[in-house]
Amino acid sequence: MSVWNVKAIIMPKPGVNDPQGEAIRGGLESLEFSGVREVRAGKQISLTIEAQSRDDAASAVKRMCDQLLANPVIETYSVTVDSVEETDGGVNA
């Protein structure tokens, strides 16, 4: 069993109103950053999980997204497995 750092990036679906992103865009505009056409604000959830393999870690977090971390009505998600933190027999059991 290894320990993996997994990131779930959750974003508002295309077409779903994102008032927070729009407010950020307005803020950037008032700071005179030009050419910012659109801002979408989502969230990142970082998890440290135990799994046998990188694929197992990714599929576990995808199931978490389907059931809780994301709301499929309004959000999409992507999952990346960043690194192995430790492997079996590591010092931090």
């Binding site: 077409g15 109103n17 008032p19 927070q20």
Partner: protein, 239 residues
């Protein structure tokens, strides 16, 4: 005659539970009981209210954690049996997260917390909760929410319209729709939506805060008053 029993579910972070209990007991005149979220049974209950508030601090998304509370399995069974369920504000958010109602609630388009009286037009009086209203009737009810922008995609909106599930729309006092009246930016100005069976209704306005002249509005009785017709033993459930 025995009064109908109405369960008000208290979640950690609910703040409208005692408003609902007071309104139901004192103004509507039913036997209102607080049911703790850790309970697992709704035996003997004639109707369920999921109150407003900030269950679990709105962590992750409003209602996202509450839907896994122990009581929710019984709430789901109760809905499937045709039992009347009203989700008010955070209760509405919980019902959408639990997929007992379609759609989702987003941050208000203004990004501000909206706390004021609002007018809602009754679209369909086909569900349990609006049975005492007339289509086109305008109710004055308070709102208090930061995440009340109802969202459904175009296909689902078509289904809601086809099945008469849109119960309430934000409107002007005279019943006309306008961008100003739709203060939180909801899809099709939807303020309240029912399930196909018409026994589950979710709405952002607070009928339980509008059942006494003392608080300046009584139109909440038009919705909660339907509970008076639920005399105990005379179930309106489908099964």
């Amino acid at each position: 005659m025995t009064r109908p029993v109405v369960a008000v579910v208290g979640f950690p972070g609910s703040n409208g539970d005692h408003d609902a209990l007071h309104s139901l007991a004192e103004d509507v005149g039913v036997d209102a009981r607080l049911v703790d979220y850790r309970q697992t049974s709704l035996a003997g209950v004639d109707a369920v209210v999921l109150p407003g508030g900030f269950s679990y601090g709105d962590s992750l998304r409003a209602g996202a954690i509450a839907r896994f509370a122990p009581i929710m399995a019984a709430v789901r069974d109760f809905a499937d049996e045709g039992g009347p369920i009203l989700g008010i504000c955070n209760g509405f958010q919980i019902l959408t997260e639990a997929h007992l109602l379609p759609g989702a609630l987003l941050r208000n388009k203004t990004l501000k917390f909206h706390c004021h009286l609002t007018h809602v037009r009754v679209e369909h009086a086909t569900d349990f909760w609006t049975a005492d209203c007339n289509p086109g009737e305008v109710l004055t009810l308070p709102v208090a929410h930061g995440e009340g922008q109802y969202f459904v995609d175009a296909d689902t909106l078509g289904e809601l319209e086809a099945h008469g599930q849109i119960a309430l729309r934000y409107a002007e006092r005279d019943g006309t729709l306008s961008d100003e009246a739709n203060h939180n930016g909801s899809t099709a100005a939807i303020a309240g939506v029912a399930n196909r069976g018409g026994n589950v209704l979710g709405l952002m306005p607070h009928p339980e805060r509008a059942t006494s002249p003392l608080v300046g509005a009584t139109d909440g009785l038009k919705i909660l008053g339907t509970l008076q017709e639920l005399s105990a033993g005379l179930q309106t459930r489908a099964s």
